[in-house]
């Protein structure tokens, strides 16, 4: 069974997704797409320093979860977290400014692109050590359960992450304590430059491990926002109702290299071509049009989003470098960095 087919054994959603929501999902995906493209341009212009990891091609997953999650729910993401951050409603400008290391950045430049965090929006952090945030996400879920607050933690990670120890420990603990957490493996076929099939003992790195934690085997077409949304609604509500964790494998594809420095040459041309055909935005747009959405409306959305990205870019560019005093701030809760008297 090839992975392309595997997508078809995915979750059959039967939720009726109304037009308004579909338009919202479309708009969000376009936002994520255009934001990432702009980030890449800014990198080429030398304005985004350090590293950055784009989600081009994977937009359906973050967009759908962003809509399905409720206020108060928590997102835990990886270094590939721009899309997840925006999907929780964080405005573009501070995110762009953070990538550029500016004073108006989401964390004033202290974290950088790999650590986007906005607690106010429930975006509880982007984690750059593979696997680390799975145990942390279960801690948030523990807190929800303890306080009986019905919040759900959603933890996104890649296929490569399923082979590290923290994955195993977190899944088991979440399962035995029936914690309200949804683990979402975005299987984009590659770790950095190495195919996940070359380094994994099973075909589906997440789904084929679910039974090891007494969990259901769940696969969804990660390029279909409706399918992801339906599964998200289902699994979030189970978590909220005390039915414990879920582990979802969403099949998708990283259309660009791993990080800004990577041209992604290790990917067979034919594979890239096949997945570009399954692009989540063009296929969704076609579906909406077939189902009667007006092309003019979608064009208008595209235009609005571009204008928004332009505005955010200008705002970010207008911001200066972070004040150097920040270097010695916020190591501790007293706001400072003193380690002695």
């Amino acid at each position: 069974m090839t992975l392309a087919n595997a997508a078809h054994e995915g979750f059959q959603h039967n939720l009726v997704i109304d037009r308004d929501l579909q338009i919202k999902l479309y708009r969000r995906m376009v936002e994520l797409r255009q934001f990432e493209k702009r980030a890449y341009d800014l990198f080429l212009q030398g304005l985004v320093k350090g590293t950055s990891h784009l989600s081009l091609g994977q937009e359906a997953i973050s967009a759908a979860f962003g809509e399905a999650m409720q206020q108060g729910d928590w997102t835990f993401a990886t270094y590939r977290g721009h899309a997840h951050t925006l999907s929780r409603g964080v405005p573009m400008a501070p995110v762009m400014a953070e990538l550029m290391g500016r004073a108006d950045g989401l964390m004033a430049g202290k974290g950088g692109s790999m650590h986007l965090t906005s607690v106010e929006h429930g975006m509880m952090g982007s984690y750059a050590i593979v696997g680390a945030h799975l145990p942390i996400a279960i801690g948030a879920a523990f807190s929800s359960k303890y306080r009986n607050s019905h919040q759900v933690a959603v933890c996104f990670f890649g296929d490569g992450t399923t082979n590290i120890g923290a994955f195993h420990e977190a899944l088991n603990l979440a399962a035995i304590w029936k914690l309200p957490v949804v683990f979402v493996c975005e299987n984009n076929l590659y770790m950095e430059y190495t195919s996940i099939y070359d380094v994994t003992a099973v075909e589906h790195p997440a789904a084929d491990r679910a039974s090891a934690y007494g969990l259901e085997r769940l696969i969804v077409d990660g390029n279909d926002p409706d399918a992801v949304y339906s599964m998200a609604i289902d699994r979030l509500s189970r978590a909220r109702n005390g039915e414990g964790p879920s582990l979802i494998e969403a099949l998708t594809y990283r259309q660009t290299g791993h990080s800004r420095a990577d041209p992604g040459k290790y990917r067979p041309d034919e594979e890239v071509a096949r997945w570009l055909e399954k692009d989540p935005i063009t296929t969704y747009r076609a579906r909406l049009v077939v189902n009667g959405a007006s092309g003019a409306l979608l064009d208008q959305i595209d235009g609005e989003v571009m204008a928004e990205v332009d505005r955010a870019t200008e705002q970010a560019k207008a911001s200066g470098p972070p004040p150097v005093e920040l270097v010695m701030k916020d190591v501790w809760s007293d706001g400072g960095s003193g380690w002695r008297n």
């Binding site: 607690v119 952090g125 050590i129 145990p135 420990e169 977190a170 002695r340 008297n341």
Partner: protein, 325 residues
């Protein structure tokens, strides 16, 4: 005043904080039903129930992730890592996540959590169950590091750690669990970053912490009666924050500094203290700064061999006598 062992002080300290604050929870391997492998936490499950006192699988990363995520979202959790050696299997959560998150998020995330652990040697447990890992912790910016040497300090410093809004590694000296002391009645709360001068002296300053405190004190008495060398003994109590002021004031007075460290030598906390003194009050020094540490070796298991490694009263006396000549 009640007599309490250092071991019993652990349970008393946790209970004091759990009674006070419903957001305090406690988890770890075998800590609940069994009361911990050192029997330091018995009775807590009975008093606070399985919602607040939890047994976990052998999954140290999951344990620390749980307390980190819980601390980010409103709780004040306490984790036990059974032996401090086991920090090696979950160091990422400590050194890369807990220590850095407040800073990286520009102050958005608070992590009011405590990780308590049995630290150090003396029980013939061998190289993988006897380490003193205070240096591992001190070397990582963003961690507070606390090491009580008496039952009362244990309670007072533990309370301060739980009430602190930063991640604290609370290192209990395994070899002190059986030691006993008088404890005052009522709530005990100390402050982090305050050393205690355990013995006033004029000829030399001994800076020490944890299980080495009683040994340094005994050595100071012997040096005083036998050699007429009058040592000031400082229990630093927390390595981060560090009471550098207390150390500098004392050494400025005595003009000599000795450290007594349970850890293996290289990059021990005593080196840090030595470097502060050699920088800031160099001209007050009358002679070399001398560190008394475990040699830079893994710890052997056999009693005679282990006793040869960790600084003993006799060793402390010998070195100070020899170097004060």
């Amino acid at each position: 005043m009640a007599q309490l062992s250092y071991r019993e002080a652990v349970g008393a300290a946790i209970a004091q904080e759990m009674r006070r604050d419903e957001s305090v929870v406690f988890l770890g391997e075998d800590v609940a039903a069994a009361g911990g492998v050192f029997k330091a936490t018995s009775g807590l499950l009975e008093e606070f129930g399985p919602r607040r006192v939890l047994d976990t699988p052998i999954s140290e990363q999951a344990i620390l992730g749980t307390v980190m995520g819980a601390a980010m979202t409103g709780l004040r959790p306490i984790a036990e890592i059974m032996y401090s050696d086991f920090f090696a299997v979950c160091w990422d959560l400590v050194a890369n996540q807990m220590a850095k998150t407040r800073y990286m998020t520009n102050g958005q995330v608070s992590l009011p959590l405590v990780i308590r652990t049995g630290n150090g040697g003396g029980l013939r447990f061998g190289a993988q169950h006897s380490q003193s890992i205070e240096n591992w912790a001190m070397a990582v910016p963003g961690l507070k590091v606390v090491m009580p040497s008496t039952p009362e300090d244990l309670i007072g410093l533990f309370a301060a750690s739980v009430r602190d809004n930063d991640p604290v590694l609370f290192l209990e000296s395994k070899s002190l669990y059986a030691s006993k002391d008088e404890i005052p009645e009522g709530e005990i709360v100390h402050r982090l970053g305050e050393a205690k001068i355990k013995r006033v002296g004029s000829d030399a300053t001994i800076v020490t912490i944890g299980a080495m405190v009683p040994r340094a004190l005994e050595a100071a008495e012997l040096l005083s009666s036998g050699q007429g060398i009058d040592c000031e003994v400082i229990d630093i109590r927390s390595l981060v924050p560090l009471d550098a002021k207390a150390i500098l004031e004392s050494v400025a007075k005595t003009s000599r500094l000795f450290t007594v460290e349970e850890n293996p030598r290289l990059c021990g906390w005593g080196a840090e203290v030595a470097s502060i003194v050699a920088d800031e009050i160099f001209y007050d020094l009358d002679g070399p700064i001398v560190r008394i540490t475990t040699p830079h070796i893994p710890l052997p298991a056999a009693a005679e061999l282990e006793d040869e490694t960790i600084p003993s009263v006799a060793k402390i006396v010998d070195v100070i006598k020899g170097r004060m000549g």
